[in-house]
């Protein structure tokens, strides 16, 4: 069955059915904006563990929109963390240094591009970002035209949890302001994509030139329960 469906709206129970132990899960958002806060909370409530979490950042500020994901890290339910900006989580340095959690630090543009590669059928790409730093450890160095590059590989996941401000029932999403960030690219990079939207509108209500998250990448749509930054 293809992904073009007129109504992808799903209830919480259907979403919970898609969370499982051992999954890799990418979650959209930059700082507190564009984070699918309701899905993050449901994921935490599901009780799953041994999760590979792929995020730009993950603040552990009490009551913040990321808090349920940070709680999963704190509870030892995340086995691998792939992340770019760690400053907002005061617990990560210790977990990283004591190796209680496998943390892969990824430069933000490399993260975006690895996600793009995963969703675009690109087998890898060459970049100078991270050359001669810890980031290069264990990675292949490729010479092209006398210049050195790091070979970076696509980053996929089983599940993507992404956010839009407005979505039609086919899953076409519009993201206001700076809430786009990783949401459009993650939607394409996972085996199963769940879109959370603050508002759901009939198909055709979003101007076709204003779609940020393409409905063809979306498997399931849910309405935000009010989590905000």
């Amino acid at each position: 069955m293809g992904k073009i469906r007129n109504n992808k709206l799903a209830a919480k129970a259907e979403v919970m059915h898609h969370f499982a132990d051992g999954q890799s899960i990418m979650i959209g958002g930059f700082n507190k904006v564009g984070v699918p806060g309701t899905l993050v909370r449901w994921l935490w409530e599901s009780g799953v563990s041994d999760i590979t979490l792929i995020v730009n950042n993950c603040s552990n500020a009490d009551g913040g929109i990321w808090y349920p994901a940070a709680a999963m890290i704190h509870e030892g339910r995340v086995s691998h963390l792939k992340i770019s900006y760690t400053a907002t989580n005061t617990e990560l340095r210790q977990l990283y240094e004591e190796k209680k959690l496998e943390v892969e630090i990824i430069p933000q543009g490399t993260l975006a591009e690895r996600l793009r590669a995963a969703g675009s059928g690109i087998g890898g790409f060459l970049t100078t970002v991270g050359l001669n730093t810890q980031i290069a450890e264990g990675k292949e160095i490729v010479r092209v035209g006398g210049k050195e590059y790091l070979l970076e590989l696509p980053l996929k996941a089983d599940l993507a949890l992404v956010k839009a401000s407005l979505a039609d029932t086919m899953g076409n999403g519009l993201c206001y302001g700076t809430s786009k960030n990783f949401n459009p690219v993650m939607a394409a990079a996972a085996g199963f994509t769940i879109l959370e939207s603050e508002q759901v509108v009939p198909v055709g209500s979003i101007g076709h030139e204003h779609v940020d998250v393409a409905g063809i990448y979306v498997d399931m749509l849910v309405v935000s329960e009010g989590e905000e930054a």
Binding site: G109, T128, N132, T133, K180
Partner: protein, 219 residues
């Protein structure tokens, strides 16, 4: 000098040109936006997906979806636009930024920068810093000359994990402006109340002092 951070920011702003597209890191670099010369058009890019950053939003007028990379609610100037992370890093890594201004934990005479990890103490992560220092046409480091414990931040070789190797062009501190050259760091300007002896004593590597009168930093 009542505010060292503003003094540094003012001298950073003087290095930017009409028509430049720049990215300003969190902290002192962001302050540089307050000191841009009159009559110039400079656009600021925020790596979370905004080009044409305007002033901070007035209280009560915040748009919950419009933040800069430091999570402050801001505005977008006419001619600016918002975009996703892929586009943002196309701009950054593709060589479309005229300058990037970042802070430092350490910076050395080879133009190496360390600012993402202080083992045992601090793990901010690189965020977009590694991308910025690799992609921007000019890399400006804006930092206090000495670390909080009084040791020099400008050293012969960085001992902390690197953000980039050899990509820093200019260092602006509360004591001096230094330019990286193939021979080492060359003094471009010095603060009015700092002597060469004081500068040397506060710096962990050799500084090349050009002949003639040394320009003073903007007070």
């Amino acid at each position: 000098m009542n505010d060292i951070r503003e003094f540094i920011a003012k001298n950073v702003a003087a290095l930017l040109h009409d028509g430049d597209l720049v990215n300003l890191g969190v902290g002192i670099p962001t302050l540089a936006a307050n000191f841009l010369p009159e009559g110039v058009t400079i656009f600021i890019q925020a790596e979370n997906g905004l080009l044409g950053c305007g002033p901070k939003a007035a209280p009560g007028e915040e748009n919950k979806n419009l933040i800069d990379a430091g999570a402050a609610y801001i505005t977008c100037l006419p001619g600016g636009f918002t975009f996703d992370s892929v586009t943002s890093f196309n701009i950054i890594r593709g060589g479309h930024l005229d300058a990037t201004v970042l802070g430092a934990l350490q910076v050395d005479e080879l133009g190496n920068l360390a600012n993402w990890y202080l083992p045992g103490k601090l793990l901010p992560g690189p965020g977009g810093a590694m991308d910025l220092v690799s992609g921007a046409k000019k890399v400006i480091v804006a930092t206090e000359h000495l670390a909080k414990n009084g040791t020099p931040k400008i050293v012969r070789r960085c001992t902390l994990p690197l953000t980039s190797a050899g990509t820093v062009n200019t260092i602006v501190t509360d004591m001096a402006v230094l330019e990286k050259t193939p021979q080492g760091l060359r003094l471009a300007a010095i603060a009015a109340d700092v002597s060469l002896e004081q500068l040397r004593a506060s710096t962990g590597c050799e500084i090349i002092i050009p002949g003639g009168e040394i320009p003073k930093m903007i007070a």
